[in-house]
Symmetry: C2
Subunit: 311 residues, 2 copies
């Protein structure tokens, strides 16, 4: 496979920029690194808006709702609108609502945080589990004889849940064990999540007990990048021409695979989780982007402003 | 592959019985089903003792120590001695102590119950985590900035832990992430455990978050059946001639694979987790025992006692 072009001239940036109407942007690693905005990116976002480009922020983090993400963007001084934000939590809610047509009289048993519950609320899907103290306060025990399953539960949805415990895993497992019609959904299957300059078990790791226990019996539908349901949910809400869309990300396994799988062109940015040798080394990755740039912020030169305004 | 013989005559039982000096016996499904002793099994165990056979009870359950198992056997009215009992918890302790030569000044971070801690104590291995309330009482949070790793931790050992939470998973993950010399051990990788006539996520499911998060970076050593470390640990403690030993179990994937992998003959009992069609059906399992009997209790006819003494 020919390695993808590394774009590093204003001419190359212009050609790419002009060929795109819709930018799907991963957040952490592209727009910011934790609390630090990537230099130049605010100017690039302004330029996109000035030129009438559509922006969709696409993130696998399901712990925050769009409302919470908006607050994060506000704090970082980045213009963003709730309807531009698409987290895997909201994608899960949209997928259940519009694609599964999840019944209004059913509820979903949630492993997840407040942000995920908020997104289910936003589309009118009833839920239980989640941040309910009843399930989060747990006396260690292997005894489930106290547990009477709720017959209205029609799905189990697993996101990142810092309050994970055996009670919640056991309840979720019971629903999936006892009824093949109960949907089994994961917001995403990220192995780890980055925080404080290191990383800890991610959403996919916290649903691994259910996936492992049910192996060979039940397979989950995985919503988040790189999987198709995330794109189906985005397209259900935002119509755009895939031929004139670009997925921008720092992660080959999630962002770039996601764009590639959906027939979009993809732009890999360095400075995140991918090393250059994974693209240009002797043994390149099986998953390659259409283009590579050092940073999305480098496209800031296209706005004709003086470079010192970079931040 | 020729299907294994189904033994159902006193002559067949005698030939088998006389060819065995050491019986390795799975417990749940062979000796008892939960609180109910399998009919005839007490007589068979008495006969083994009368004929000078060596008995080793081999179980993957790591939540109980040998001492606790002895109590269970006592309650069921089954003669058993602590030194005949080999759970995957004790096997893990023996493996660490005798095969890894785990240093006396190091400690192991435990995901597990009191029984596992007790077995580590029994071989003099220091531990932390486990049932320590400090780790079991958890306020849901993704923030690990409070956590200062203990530099003496040289291993992470995961068994069934009903007090599993993100704090423990995060701490265990940190040790494995930061130091490739920290051993990564699972007492066993059972998907589910049976209880109250149904089943819930098992030990292997509870370690799945760590296995998944570290996939491609760290592989665990799995101690319990069907894996070799369990047999290495048993042999380190009990010398016996494999050619005159028999592994008896109800589970093809754990018990029978365990015996087969170790070059022992194997005896499958029905009435547990295996269906006859998995052996004698059109599409038999890849893992087959040397022999099949309906129940270990059926060998009670060999003691010449009247049948009414069956229980």
């Amino acid at each position: 496979m020919t390695p993808p072009p590394f774009l590093d001239t204003p001419e190359a940036y212009t050609t790419l920029f002009d060929s795109v109407d819709t930018f799907l942007l991963d957040c952490d690693g592209v727009i910011y690194h934790g609390p630090v905005v990537v230099p130049g990116v605010k100017r690039v976002l302004s330029l996109m808006r000035a030129r009438g480009k559509k922006i969709i922020f696409v993130t696998n983090n399901a712990t925050k709702s769009r409302r919470m993400y908006k607050t994060t963007f506000d704090k970082l001084g980045i213009e963003a609108h709730e309807n531009e934000i698409f987290g895997s939590g909201y994608a899960s809610a949209v997928y259940m609502s519009r694609i599964l047509n999840f019944p209004a009289d059913k509820r979903v048993y949630v492993l997840g945080e407040k942000g995920l519950e908020e997104e289910l609320d936003s589309v009118g899907i009833k839920h239980c589990g989640g941040t309910d103290p009843e399930d989060r306060v747990f006396i260690p025990s292997m005894d489930f004889s106290y547990f009477t399953p709720d017959p209205t539960v029609g799905a189990v949805l697993c996101g990142f849940d810092s309050g994970i415990n055996y009670k919640k895993l056991g309840k979720a497992f019971s629903y999936l064990r006892d009824d093949p019609n109960v949907h089994f959904l994961l917001t995403n299957q990220d192995k780890v999540f980055p925080t404080h300059g290191t990383f800890y078990p991610g959403s996919g790791s916290l649903s691994a007990p259910l996936v492992f226990a049910l192996q060979g019996k039940r397979e989950p539908t995985i919503i988040g990048k790189p999987n198709k349901p995330m794109m189906d949910a985005i397209i259900a809400e935002h119509q755009f021409d895939p031929a004139r869309a670009l997925m921008v990300g720092d992660n080959l396994l999630t962002d770039i695979a996601f764009g590639n799988n959906s027939g979009l062109r993809t732009l890999l940015v360095m400075g995140g989780v991918t090393q250059k040798e994974q693209i240009y080394g002797d043994k390149p990755s099986d998953i390659l982007p259409t283009f590579v740039v050092e940073s999305l912020g480098d496209l800031a030169v296209l706005d004709g402003q003086p470079a010192e305004k970079t931040a």
